[in-house]
Amino acid sequence: MSENKTDVPYGTLDLLILKTLDTMGPMHGYRIARRIEQVAENLLRLNQGSIYPALIRLEEQGWIRTQWGVSETKRKVKFYSLTRAGAKQLNVEVANWERATALVARFLEAEP
């Protein structure tokens, strides 16, 4: 793996998953992981396994729901989709993220 890949910024995996589900609709774990990697265009070092605890956490919060479906390899897998609460939460997280980046950006731009 190349050195210029970055880890998933702390606390943003939830946001990435929610956004993915928002744009792509219901999908299973592997597709979510692949989609995140594809969008990141190899800039991201994602442990694909780490999305499962995140999915469970999001489900417990009531932001996503699961349904059983069949994978491309004919296995029974869970398909995840966004709930209404999840859509709202996505807005909150996006706003938070924008506020945070704007704040950091202002610091970086600030002249002495």
Partner: protein
């Protein structure tokens, strides 16, 4: 959402296994797809597998992480909260001790009371298929019960399509001379079927066999377990030994199992063999128990019994007389007992509520001081669910410890109370702490703990964590929070109200008890000792032999040391007169029902019952002399009002009087020779009854009581009395030795026990309410120190400050009193049956209750009030300014 979250966590705990499996599948699917994908990009299968695994990351680590998240954190939170709860208890041991003490008291008293309710009312009787057990009566008029006659009993016994077993029972007592001292023991004469009715098998040996209750059968006896233990030391060879009852040797055929029959008065059971003279339809003397055939309902039994009654129309002349069948259990628990138990249970529930209110109040007070901590935690990201969870867990620790302590308290209470109340409970109720505190009782205790948890935990939790936390971060430093104070005041008002209800009840009961104790028994109570005896037919076969004994024993007793007077009587005052008969007048159709007492010539003098007119009995009123009778004023009043007999002296009346031993009653014409002042024959609460006295010498009885008046402490004279009786008959034991004071005590036990129980609960409730009031006021004073300081700086005197605090206490008390009185009014119906000559709305008792509660409340308010008065304005303003 919090709820859903918590529920999900909770479910996850139980679903762990399945979830692990699901996760496994999901990972496998993931890896397969990753592999396929890698192969598609041109990697070899091995490389593809490696690639898939490496981009997935540590599988085991991930699972661990997942599992952590799913359940361990939940458990970890709980553990942390528990530890935190314990720690905060340890930091504030005073709070912990008071709370756990209150809960232990409330839960313990409730558990003990439930054990009694369970044993007496809820638990099925300790016999197989108890619903088949019945009692049978004659009903002279519907709703009334009477014993039956031998012939009618035998008619019933032939109904083997209704009954599996039917038995008469007749209490007896007998002198036991097996062993060292002769003692008198209670026993029962029963039909051979008796133990089949109860479905009880002998522990060793056997119970009665068919035919052992027929004339000519060998005398046999069955012993209770306790008698076997005490009299025979549990000797397994007891079946080879003989048992001498009233001088007659009986073969011991069996010993009953330990249990219910040990709590019965009877210690031994003998077959009831009818003497030929008892074979009639006049003597109503038998109590009957039966076991229905399986499949026969009580309604069917009743229907068939009334069919039988109709077919006996020719031989039973009383037109209205019917046959009654009642469930055996129904008559075991009397109305008064049932009412007393429910009342005590209600009272103890109120005590528990007050205890809960107090604990909730304490937790609230503590919560108020912790608002800052809570606000900080919320600001740092703790969810409300998490905060409520933490507070609930702390309360859970309190409730759990309180519950454990409560079960210990219940155990101690039961051990202490069981011997005191056992005599008032039916023999089927087993109160020994070991067997009565079973899983049912522990389950009840657990339910109570849970109810307490909800009552004491939820409200303070919501109060603390739903308050405006952010604002309280700022306010907490300044103290007061109005809404919490209002809730706590409401709780205190509730406590005061509940206490007032209890105190009112207690005040009414105590007033009723005082009235009862003031009732004039009509006899001298002090320095009188009584005992019973029963002349065995073997030693005293004839009426003459009995009469000789009566005269000799009284003669001897009067010369015994310390004895002033001695007499004999069939029944003692206050214990109820057993014998009832009709007095008839020549030419008058109606008759007067009177109680009949057989007494000797010294009875009236010994108990100092004055003769109002005519004369009492004298030595000349012996067998063979003209039959005479003395009546009481009540009987005289009836005779003059109903029968127009202004002066009954020397008038002649007809009455049926019993013969000696098994000889049934026969009509006698007697002359009334005197009228005496009323004595209380029944209990102190019972109305005066018309009583007819006849000379014991003319109507001799075997089961008589000795009444002895002593010069000094009556129990001290007992050895002299025993010696005097022994000189007359060395084999005659004396039973039921009681002073008249004790007889009186026993006769009001039914009123005394509930009164003291409710009184104790009311006292506890009042103290708890006072504690609650104290807590609220003390807290208020602490919070208002600044305000008080400013007022004092502006010229308020200490007295003003004190009166301010007392006024707020009084306002709480007054509202509580009003609500409590309303509650007491609403509940008067409950008390009615237990009150004697006191209205359930007795103003004096209710006023007294209010005054008491107010006094206790003011005392509780005094401490914080005086502390408020000692506030030094300078210090306070400098501290917090």
């Amino acid at each position: 959402m919090n709820l859903r979250f918590a529920a999900g966590r909770l479910l996850a705990l139980f679903r762990n296994r399945r979830l692990d499996g699901e996760l496994e599948d999901e990972i496998l699917a993931h890896l397969e797809m990753a592999e396929l994908n890698a192969i598609a990009t041109g990697l070899s299968p091995e490389e593809a597998r490696r690639e898939a695994r490496s981009s997935f990351g540590g599988i085991e680590q991930m699972k661990e992480n997942h599992r952590d998240h799913r359940s361990v954190r939940w458990a970890e939170n709980l553990l942390r909260d528990l530890r935190y709860g314990m720690a905060s208890l340890a930091r504030d041991p005073g709070f912990g001790a008071v709370t756990i003490g209150l809960l232990a008291l409330g839960i313990g008293a409730n558990t003990a009371m439930f054990t009694i309710v369970d044993a007496v009312l809820l638990r099925p009787l300790p016999f197989p298929e108890p619903e088949r057990m019945v009692r049978l009566w004659e009903a002279p008029t519907p709703g009334h019960h009477n014993n039956t006659t031998t012939f009618t009993f035998l008619d019933w016994k032939r109904q083997d399509t209704i009954f599996d077993a039917l038995s008469a029972e007749e209490p007896v007592s007998a002198a036991v001379t097996t062993g060292a001292d002769p003692v008198r023991l209670s026993g029962k004469l029963v039909s051979a079927d008796y133990f089949n009715v109860f479905g009880v098998k002998a522990r060793i040996g056997r119970t009665f066999a068919l035919g052992e209750d027929q004339p000519g059968a060998t005398p046999v006896v069955v012993l209770s377990y306790s008698l076997w233990q005490t009299r025979f030391g549990g000797d397994p060879g007891v079946l080879k030994r003989d048992f001498v009852l009233d001088g007659e040797s009986h073969r011991i055929i069996g010993v009953l199992p330990a249990g219910s029959f040990d709590r019965d008065e009877a210690r031994f059971w003998k077959p009831l063999i009818f003497a030929s003279i008892q074979l009639n339809r006049n003597q109503h003397w038998l109590q009957v128990v039966g076991r229905l055939r399986s499949g026969v309902s009580i309604e069917q039994a009743r229907a068939r019994m009334s069919g039988l009654r109709a077919s006996l129309g020719a031989v039973i002349p009383q037109k209205k007389l019917g046959f009654a069948v009642d469930p055996f259990a129904q008559l075991l628990v009397g109305d008064t007992l049932r009412r007393s138990i429910y009342l005590a249970f209600g009272a103890v529930l109120l005590v528990l509520l007050i205890a809960c209110a107090n604990v909730a109040n304490l937790v609230l007070a503590k919560g108020a001081t912790r608002r800052k901590e809570m606000a900080l935690r919320a600001a740092l990201g703790a969810g409300r669910g998490r905060l409520i969870g933490q507070l609930l867990t702390e309360t859970l620790v309190l409730c759990f410890l309180g519950g454990i302590a409560g079960i210990a308290v219940a155990y101690l209470l039961l051990r202490g109370a069981a011997p005191l109340v056992a005599a008032s409970l039916p023999f089927t109720a087993d109160l020994s702490a070991g067997s009565s505190m079973d899983l049912r009782v522990l389950g009840f205790a657990a339910l109570v703990v849970m109810a307490v948890l909800v009552l004491t935990g939820l409200l303070p939790s919501l109060q603390t964590s739903f308050g405006k936390l952010s604002s309280s971060l700022n306010q907490a430093a300044r103290g007061s929070s109005a809404s919490s104070a209002a809730v706590r005041r409401t709780i205190v008002i509730g406590e005061v109200a509940a206490s007032v209800v209890l105190i009112c009840g207690a005040a009414l009961l105590f007033k009723s008890l005082a009235k009862l104790q003031q009732v004039d028994a009509g006899v001298r109570i002090d320095h009188v000792i009584t005992m019973s005896t029963d002349l065995p037919s073997t030693a005293y076969p004839t009426p003459e032999s009995a009469t000789t004994f009566y005269e000799a024993v009284v003669e001897r007793l009067r010369s015994a040391p310390g004895v002033e007077q001695a007499a004999l009587s069939l029944d003692l005052p206050l214990q109820g007169a057993r014998w009832g008969e009709w007095i008839s007048l020549a030419g008058v159709k109606e008759a007067l029902l009177v109680r009949v007492k057989m007494v000797d010539p010294w009875y009236f003098a010994t108990l100092q019952i004055p003769v109002e007119s005519g004369r009492g009995f004298e030595k000349r009123d012996r067998a063979g002399a003209p039959p005479v009778m003395v009546i009481n004023q009540e009987a005289a009043r009836f005779l003059s009002s109903k029968f127009d007999m202004a002066n009954p002296i020397l008038r002649v009346v007809g009455i049926h009087l019993p013969g000696y031993g098994p000889i049934p009653e026969s009509p006698v014409t007697v002359q009334i020779v005197g009228v005496i002042r009323n004595e209380r024959t029944g209990g102190l609460h019972a109305p005066e009854e018309p009583v007819a006295y006849v000379p014991l010498a003319q109507v001799p009885r075997q089961d008589v009581s000795l009444v002895v008046r002593t010069g000094s402490e009556p129990l001290a004279a007992m050895s002299g009395i025993r010696e005097a009786v022994r000189q007359i008959d060395p084999h005659l034991p004396l039973g039921e030795v009681r002073t008249m004071e004790q007889v009186k005590e026993r006769s009001i036990l039914w009123a005394k026990q509930p009164t003291w129980v409710i009184g104790a609960f009311a006292g506890v409730a009042a103290l708890m309410a006072a504690l609650g009031l104290y807590g609220v006021l003390a807290h208020a004073v602490t919070e208002q120190r600044r305000e008080i300081g400013i007022r004092m700086a502006l010229g308020a005197r200490p007295a003003d400050v004190v009166s301010h605090t007392l006024r707020s206490a009084l306002s709480l008390l007054v509202v509580g009193l009003a609500v409590g009185l309303a509650g007491a009014f609403a509940l008067t119906r409950v008390l009615k049956g237990l009150l004697f000559e006191v209205s359930a709305l007795d103003p004096v008792a209710l006023a007294l209750a209010c005054v008491l509660m107010t006094l206790v409340g003011i005392l509780a308010a005094w401490i914080p009030a005086s502390r408020a008065a000692r506030v030094d304005p300078m210090t306070v303003l400098r501290d917090e300014g």
